[in-house]
């Protein structure tokens, strides 16, 4: 078994948790972290239980592409990413695409990912329209 020390992914408190994982990679549950500077061994119900969605059968496990009839079909990463890149490139019209391409990032993503989103938007797609959900 292993116990992985990490930060709870729910609210802005940022509590410390250990995730207990069985040898077959099943997530068994959570142990609190007494050492953690924020949570000091205490957690709320989301901290204790919030991991259990991870292997839900409704998880997306493959890229999806919308077909003509409106339904989705599964696609390979290469196909999906090429389509995304082409779609974005087609939408780029001039030096500045601020009104043409909108980027919505997330407080669910890490700092590193948000940084990439800001860079992708401003340096790659040449749009300044990048936002996340802080207002909501």
């Amino acid at each position: 078994m292993k116990r992985v020390e990490t930060t709870c992914g729910y609210c802005g408190c940022g509590c410390g948790i250990y995730v207990n994982v069985a040898d077959d990679d099943t997530i068994l549950g959570i142990s609190p972290s007494y050492n953690h500077v924020v949570s000091k061994g205490k957690l709320c119900s989301k901290g204790w239980h919030g991991f259990a969605f991870v292997r839900d059968s409704r998880r997306l496990t493959s890229p999806l592409i919308r077909q003509k009839d409106g339904t989705f079909r599964e696609a390979s990463w290469d196909e999906a990413l090429d389509k995304v890149a082409k779609g974005f490139k087609d939408a780029m019209i001039a030096e500045d695409n601020t009104d043409h391409i909108g980027i919505v990032s997330s407080a669910r993503c890490t700092n590193e990912e948000n940084f990439l989103m800001a860079k992708l938007a401003r340096a790659g797609l040449k749009t300044s329209s990048v936002d996340h959900c802080a207002r909501l």
């Binding site: 078994m1 069985a22 068994l28 549950g29 609190p32 957690l43 059968s57």
Partner: protein
């Protein structure tokens, strides 16, 4: 077993652990600061500098999440495979404190008897526990007040006491003795003289405990503070995080969850559940017998009283973890002190349900399931009858006909599985006569019954059972029988009506009072007309809406009681209804002169596992599923008012 005592030089411990690790997987405390956890030897540095493990060793024998069984549907059958044996084998846990070895001795008792829990037993059989006694107390330790520590007295295979340069090693079990044999050269035999040193050390450690409470009056204090004001503050504070029960060495409640791969394949697992969750006792129609106050209070009473009352083991090991983890500073220590103070300064009259001596006898039972206690056997629906607009009758046969022969009928209900959806308890209205077919009447009230309601002949379900205790038969022979039931609640009564109808000479007068909103909603309409043909049997109806189908009283069933004209002292009444209705009817029956011992009621609230293990149906020190669901009204009144 004769006391075996050894010493082990401190320096040689790691070598010994290494030897044991060759044949078993040794787990040792690792971590730093206050985060100490059991991890396989060698994965991180072993520590000796710790108060306690973050989670009790319980997490290894009753895991946070366990698989119960898997099922797979093929063209015309469903295959069920029990998974209680799927876990890591042959593990040794070194470094367990007295509070947790104590906890294991309780969980051994809890899971090991009545209906033995196959998952627990399988894991426990592969577990060796080596206690290491504490030399100092944590902030919220109070094992010395409870009496479970400070040194281990039970629940260990080997117990180590750190003396100066060596450990005193006490052998608790044969398994412990085998371990000594595996590393024999390192263990030096010693005699009982050394126990004096150990006792002196224990006294020294006990004296260093910051917290020492006199709990000799605890149960009396509890009886006098059941409705005290301080419970409201505790209830306001609880945010239902469930931390307190998660970290408790003696908390054993669980909930089962379906984890499906697709519609034809899935696994049923169990997760730790908590009585501190609001949903723990809430039913499909929003009704919850435990409000915020009773929730918080129930945990404390369970730990300090109900467990001990039932199993003879202390329900609290004094580890203090629940206080450590509470985000809103609810403290069992503060509560015990508040109980003491309130009982002294502002006592209530003792609560009857806390002082009553009326207790059920615990009986050992075993169910002959093919794949372990929690895995159902597959059955096929052979017939369907629409009883009322919202009640259906299903006829089922086990796919393996032998199973029909193998169970002795002494239960009251089965656990019916809808694969991929869940499980629910259904009573067996046909009673002992069913030898090759099972029949269930049920009402569509929730997500599982929704699916069951739509099932067709040939569809597969799973069955476990029978559970619970049936109505007594022999002991009520010769008496008047009075059956009172409404709607689908007639189903459990039928288990005794049917044999009574077949053998009317066994009884004096038989009265059936059936109530419903309207005639169409009544269960067993045709049967009742047939039953009424027995000369000593009379059926009366109490309906809210008038009908032209039968002669019926328009109003409550209670109205019919005074005119029954029977010898109440020689009558046994069987009442099946909601707890509120039971109270009303039983009150009237007692006014007419009935003894509450002769009123039999069924309490089916919140039964989930059926085997007295999952904890959902526990009221006071009783489990509705194994002690009941049939109780006398006297017993029902002796329960805390939380069902």
């Amino acid at each position: 077993m004769e006391k075996q005592l050894y010493t082990l030089n401190n320096q040689e411990l790691d070598r010994v652990l290494g030897i044991w690790n060759e044949k078993s997987s040794v787990y040792v405390p690792v971590g730093k600061g206050e985060d100490i956890q059991l991890m396989p030897l060698g994965e991180a540095e072993r520590t000796e500098d710790y108060i306690n493990l973050t989670l009790p060793v319980k997490e290894m024998v009753f895991e946070q999440k366990e698989k119960l069984f898997k099922w797979k549907r093929s063209k015309d059958h469903i295959e069920v495979t029990g998974l209680s044996g799927e876990h890591t084998k042959n593990r040794i846990f070194y470094g367990v404190r007295a509070c947790d070895t104590y906890g294991v001795s309780y969980t051994d008792r809890f899971f090991g008897k009545e209906f033995p829990d196959t998952n627990y037993q399988s894991r426990r059989a592969e577990t060796t526990i080596i206690g290491v006694n504490c030399l100092r107390a944590g902030k919220h330790c109070f094992c010395t007040s409870i009496g479970t520590g400070v040194f281990s007295t039970t629940g260990y295979d080997l117990a180590f006491t750190p003396m100066d340069s060596y450990f005193l090693v006490e052998v608790g079990t044969e398994r412990g003795a085998e371990l000594i044999d595996q590393a024999k050269p390192y263990f030096k035999e010693t005699d009982e003289g050394i126990l004096k040193e150990k006792d002196a050390l224990r006294e020294k450690v006990e004296e260093s405990f910051p917290l020492k409470m006199d709990l000799s009056n605890l149960w009396d204090d509890m009886a006098r503070t059941f409705d005290a004001d301080f419970w409201l503050d505790e209830a306001h504070a609880c945010i239902g995080c469930t931390g307190c029960t998660n970290v408790c060495p003696t908390c054993t409640c669980f909930n089962v969850v379906e984890e499906n791969i697709d519609k034809d394949e899935g696994t049923r697992v169990r997760y730790w559940d908590s009585c501190q969750s609001e949903h723990f006792t809430r039913n499909a129609e929003y009704h919850n017998p435990r409000d915020a106050v009773s929730r918080v209070r129930y945990r404390i009473y369970d730990k300090l009283k109900y467990i001990e009352e039932r199993f003879g083991h202390k329900g609290c090991s004094g580890c203090g973890r629940c206080t450590d983890v509470c985000p809103t500073y609810i403290s069992i220590i503060d509560i015990m002190q508040a109980m003491r103070k309130t009982a002294e300064e502002n006592p209530e009259p003792p609560a009857v349900h806390q002082t009553t001596k009326i207790r059920h006898i615990i009986r050992d039972r075993e169910i002959k399931n093919r794949h372990g206690l929690y895995a159902p056997d597959v059955a096929t629906i052979t017939g369907i009858k629409q009883e009322t607009p919202e009640i259906k009758r299903l006829f089922m046969k086990y796919d393996d006909p032998e199973l029909h022969k193998s169970y002795e009928h002494k239960g009251q209900f089965f656990q019916v599985t809808v694969f991929g959806k869940g499980e629910l308890p259904l009573s067996i209205p046909y009673g002992p006569d069913q030898s090759d077919e099972l029949v269930f009447d049920f009402k569509d009230v929730g997500s599982v019954t929704d699916v069951l309601f739509e099932m067709k002949v040939g569809d597969k379900v799973g069955l476990r059972g029978p559970y619970g205790h049936a109505y007594p038969y022999n002991s009520i022979k010769g008496r008047n029988l009075l059956f009172i039931g409404s709607g689908v609640a007639m189903a459990p009564l039928r288990t005794i009506i049917e044999p009574a109808v077949k053998n009317p000479d066994d009884f004096n007068q038989i009265h059936i009072l059936a109530s419903a909103l309207r005639y169409e909603n009544l269960l067993y309409k045709e049967e009742m007309i047939q039953w009424a043909k027995v000369p000593s049997l009379r059926v009366q109806y109490a309906l809210k809406e008038a009908t032209d189908k039968v002669k019926a009283h328009q109003g409550h069933v209670n109205d019919l009681l005074p005119d029954l004209n029977i010898d109440w002292s020689n009558t046994t009444a069987m009442v099946c209804a909601s707890p509120e209705r039971i109270r009303k009817v039983s009150g009237d029956l007692m006014d007419l002169g009935m003894n509450p011992k002769d009123i039999l009621v069924t309490l089916e609230t919140h039964m989930r596992c059926g085997a007295g293990k999952c904890g959902h149906c526990k009221v006071g020190s009783h489990y509705m599923c194994v002690d009941g669901p049939v109780f006398t009204y006297e017993e029902m009144m002796a329960l805390p008012p939380e069902f």
